[in-house]
Symmetry: C2
DNA sequence: ACTAACATGTAATCTGTTACATGATTGA
DNA sequence: TCAATCATGTAACAGATTACATGTTAGT
């Protein structure tokens, strides 16, 4: 996931590691710090795979900087990942949000909407959080007050995201269905 | 985090691994599968640390079962973790929800509310998601439609959880402040 | 002199995933 | 007989964290 965030952040322009870290942290609202020990090895993996180019530059205020550029192979790889996210990138909210942050990079609205539809479908699937033994769980039947809170919060989250997705997909100002699938 | 979920699930009664997996998966609304490769090693770590006791039992329909029991040391460890969660267990929603699922195990309302207050304080802290360069980010100024969606969804989530926390902490039917701190 | 921000890395360790490996019972 | 469910584990690998390690520049 860090790798996707790195590739996406570099799609907007070259950055060096230190600045890249800030961009990636901003994606999570600065709630998930990115450590040196995960950032630099991730960068090196991407360079080794030929997705990023690295060239040195005299540091602005300190040691030499390594400016990272997303090359053609990297851009292609990024677009493929965005176009066809893995199941857990649809299912896990924090991963999905990383995909969403860069979804505009896909050149066609149809491709963007296809991803949003997968998320919507997941959110509307019975059998997850709100379901217990094949039937919907009602807040009143959860005796534990904190588990009730989990349920209420999860419902609110679900409703808000579903409403937004529906609006974008067929109620938005661009007209229903976007470019279609 | 898996370990906390295991300890918490066993606090309600002894279980064998296979059943335990289902309980743990239920906590995430069945959106995060727990693999054998994470479950059994985690159980073994907890047994090795002396937090769980394991005794064999003839399997109901298959191989022998290993019934796991949370022992005194395990219960004590669990209560300590619930009473004083690590920073990222307050900050990271999915981790916080795991804590929340078992928070009722803390014997005093004051201790429970202290944890909820930490979460509330975090959610109300400016400088996270909604903030950019020291000032609140407004949805209208986010040009990217998907990033705008992230912001709107995140706000809705935040509002719902803050409302629930405030209600529990000082507007709930138990009266303001619980047992106080 | 010291601290913060800039700047990049490695090593040990932890936690998790996927794939591999085994084996019994129940129902179609 | 074949698939599903029950039941438990290991091995290889991936990814992240913390701590360690180094070095500059700017401000107090």
């Amino acid at each position: 996931m860090l790798e996707l965030a790195i590739l996406g952040s570099l799609a907007e322009g070259p950055l060096h590691g230190y600045e890249l870290r800030r961009r990636v942290e901003r994606l999570s609202g600065h709630t998930r710090p990115v450590s040196d020990g995960s950032l630099y090895p991730a960068i090196n993996r991407l360079v080794k795979r030929g997705l990023l180019s690295r060239h040195s530059e005299p540091g602005a205020a300190a040691t030499r900087r390594h400016v990272l550029t997303l090359n053609d192979a990297g851009r292609e790889h990024l677009l493929e990942r965005l176009r066809d996210p893995a199941p857990h990138e649809i299912t896990d909210s924090s991963r999905f949000f990383t995909v969403l942050a860069f979804l505009s990079l896909l050149p066609d609205t149809a491709g963007q909407h296809a991803v949003l539809r997968r998320r919507l479908e997941f959110l509307e699937t019975p059998a997850s959080f709100f379901y217990e033994d094949e039937r919907p769980l009602r807040a009143e039947e959860v005796e534990d007050p904190y588990r009730r809170g989990m349920l209420l919060t999860a419902r609110a989250v679900n409703r808000a995201e579903v409403a937004w997705l529906r609006e974008v997909l067929d109620g938005g100002p661009d007209g229903p269905g976007g470019s279609g699938s």
